[in-house]
């Protein structure tokens, strides 16, 4: 995958671009955001494991070669080296595909980065099944679960380019380990003008009376489509974008659960351990309501076009509509 030329969809000026209203892959927004950040903050250093063309850290590498470290195909070494850089005052961003970042280097992230509460930013791209043709070996569907389980870790899944740019700026300001989950494929613009991302804060598009959908990543746009489709059927369904799955915005969850008896979660991730699990854990203990989780059903992904895979795994607006209709 790394060797395949992947043209950036982002053209034009890099610095200052906020990606508002633009359909871009979140990894492209990351590449531009990182470049912009590097210009403003000398402490930022970037590490990659031979995938800089795909993760888009190559832009930073080109502009700031002395602050970019290609670690070779050695993810474990990369994570612990990032830890060392943070210990001497740098703000390291370490990037590779989500499967390798969260899986191959999990112990390094737990033992070195999180136990010492180090200021390392892990920005993983190619998460989820929209990786497409590369198939299951390259589709992380467990990474939010793996990262969420580690104390001190913050876990963020932005939904579009506009939000991604803000996430990258916000985590650079925050002191502590963060895992950011980005995608390979182009995604529609979702977040409205004036939106300000804050770590741990959800965005309430609308709170519904019949059901509320809690989503993140690419599923936010599907949730918004589903809301419109359900409105046609006379139903009042809310949508909440929950980019930070740890720490969860529990106030937003309580508001949603107090206004409707049904909560539907939607994520491009396994229903085991991700957003759906996090929401279910909180609500079952604090405000029990009916919860249905949309996500991959404890299976691996596979090769195919992203749209085909999304359909097969039920990650669509239609599936959300069906779930609401049969459970409300």
């Amino acid at each position: 995958m790394g060797s395949r030329p992947e043209e950036s969809v982002v053209k034009g000026k890099e610095s200052g671009v906020d990606f508002f209203g633009q359909a871009v892959a979140t990894r492209d927004a990351y590449g531009a955001a990182l470049l912009d950040l590097g210009t403003r903050n000398e402490c930022v250093v970037v590490l990659d494991a031979d995938l800089s063309g795909s993760t888009k850290t190559a832009k930073f590498a080109k502009a700031f070669p002395e602050r970019f470290f290609n670690m070779g195909i050695a993810e474990q070494d990369m994570m612990a080296t990032a830890g060392g850089l943070s210990l001497v005052g740098k703000i390291p961003f370490a990037s590779t595909f989500a499967v390798f970042a969260s899986g191959r280097a999990w112990d390094q992230i737990r033992q070195t980065i999180c136990y010492s509460n180090l200021n390392v930013k892990i920005v993983a791209t190619h998460a989820g099944i929209t990786v497409g043709e590369d198939g299951a070996s390259h589709q992380a569907l467990e990474d939010m679960a793996l990262m969420r389980a580690i104390p001190h870790m913050t876990v963020i899944t932005p939904c579009d380019g506009f939000e991604t740019k803000q996430v990258i700026d916000a985590i650079a300001e925050y002191d502590g380990p963060v895992y950011v989950r980005l995608g390979r494929a182009k995604v529609p613009s979702v977040m409205p003008a004036g939106y300000r991302f804050q770590i741990g804060k959800a965005y309430k598009f609308h709170i519904g009376r019949d059901a509320n959908i809690i989503a993140n990543g690419i599923m936010v746009s599907e949730a918004l489509k589903a809301k419109e489709m359900l409105l046609q059927k006379g139903m009042d369904v809310g949508v909440i974008n929950m980019p930070t799955i740890k720490p969860l915005d529990t106030e937003a969850l309580l508001e949603a659960a107090s206004n409707s008896k049904l909560i539907v979660t939607a994520e491009e991730h396994s229903i085991v351990g991700g957003l759906g699990s996090a929401v279910a854990e909180f609500l079952s203990e604090n405000h029990p309501v009916s919860i249905k989780r949309i996500g991959t059903k404890d299976t691996f992904g596979g090769s195919g076009k992203p749209e085909e895979l999304l359909k097969i795994h039920g990650l669509t607006a239609e599936e959300i509509v069906k779930t609401v209709m049969t459970n409300v």
Partner: protein, 280 residues
């Protein structure tokens, strides 16, 4: 706290190493569990670092220009705690709390709980990468501080060590000095039986490192190697220190079972007598 006394005087350093061994044995016996063999085998090396080579300020543990020490073989925590206490990072009485509930002296080093510990370790194989990261960052800042990293020989069976070995040489990290405690023992037996690591010097050379081969209990050889390593430019240095696990207590020496068990009361008494007799 008293300023650290540092000296290159070999007699002084040997005396300190003896005091370090005494404290290690006392604290382990008191704790009732912990890693004896590997703490004793590295005792002379750690003494040379903390009482001679490293530029550090126990009363200002975050001094930006301090030399850094990463205990990659984190199970030798009793050794690290002892040299930190004896050089004045915290009161010696804390050593009695090793492994006790809420003690900052955790079973393996925890950086957020005790001054002087740069990073938490315990999962073997990660320290050299961390040290590389520090060395890279220090170079970027033109900070003259050096980074020292102590590894076990069994530990070098971890693949990540060799990823890091490549990284250090690829990035010309001459501000980094690794030290491998070659005591030839790990938990399940001799390294040569569990998973052969030899030829050790050839491996490090092949990875682009400058190597020093020394007797890890000969204080003169240790300080010489540490001094010489500082002069090597353009590549990282590694001190390959041949040691004896359990060194200093005759009935622990070379005994694989004393990796993870502590002296009984009687053994402690005998051991302290032996160490007292070793004075020159």
């Amino acid at each position: 706290m008293a300023a650290v006394t540092q000296s290159r005087d070999i007699y002084f350093l040997k005396e300190q190493a003896r005091a370090v061994r005494v404290e290690i044995l006392r604290m382990l016996a008191q704790a009732g569990s912990g890693h004896t063999g590997g703490s004793l085998s590295s005792a002379d090396i750690a003494t040379a670092l903390y009482f001679y080579k490293m530029r550090h300020r126990p009363d200002d543990p975050k001094w930006p220009e301090r030399d850094r020490f990463v205990l990659s073989k984190g199970h030798a925590a009793p050794l690290l705690y002892t040299v930190l206490a004896l050089t004045g990072y915290f009161d010696k009485s804390l050593l009695n709390t090793l492994r006790k509930i809420r003690s900052p002296l955790q079973g393996h080093p925890s950086s957020k709980m005790l001054p002087g510990i740069e990073v938490s370790t315990g999962s073997l194989g990660q320290g050299l990468s961390i040290a590389n990261g520090m060395a890279l960052g220090l170079k970027l800042d033109r900070n003259p501080a050096r980074v020292y990293c102590l590894l076990g020989d069994g530990e070098t069976q971890e693949g990540q060590v060799w990823e890091a070995a490549m990284t250090a040489s690829h990035y010309f990290l001459d501000n980094l000095c690794a030290i491998v405690d070659l005591n030839e023992l790990q938990i399940d037996g001799r390294c040569s039986d569990v998973m052969k690591i030899e030829p050790v010097p050839d491996k490090w050379k092949a990875f682009g490192w400058h190597i020093f081969e020394i007797d890890g209990h000969d204080m003169e050889q240790i300080v010489d190697a540490l001094d010489e390593a500082e002069k090597i430019k353009g590549k990282p240095s590694v001190i390959l220190a041949r040691t004896i696990k359990g060194k200093g207590v005759s009935f622990f020496e070379g005994k694989v079972e004393y990796h993870g068990i502590v002296p009984t009361k009687e053994e402690l008494e005998l051991a302290l007598k032996e160490l007292a007799g070793n004075g020159e």
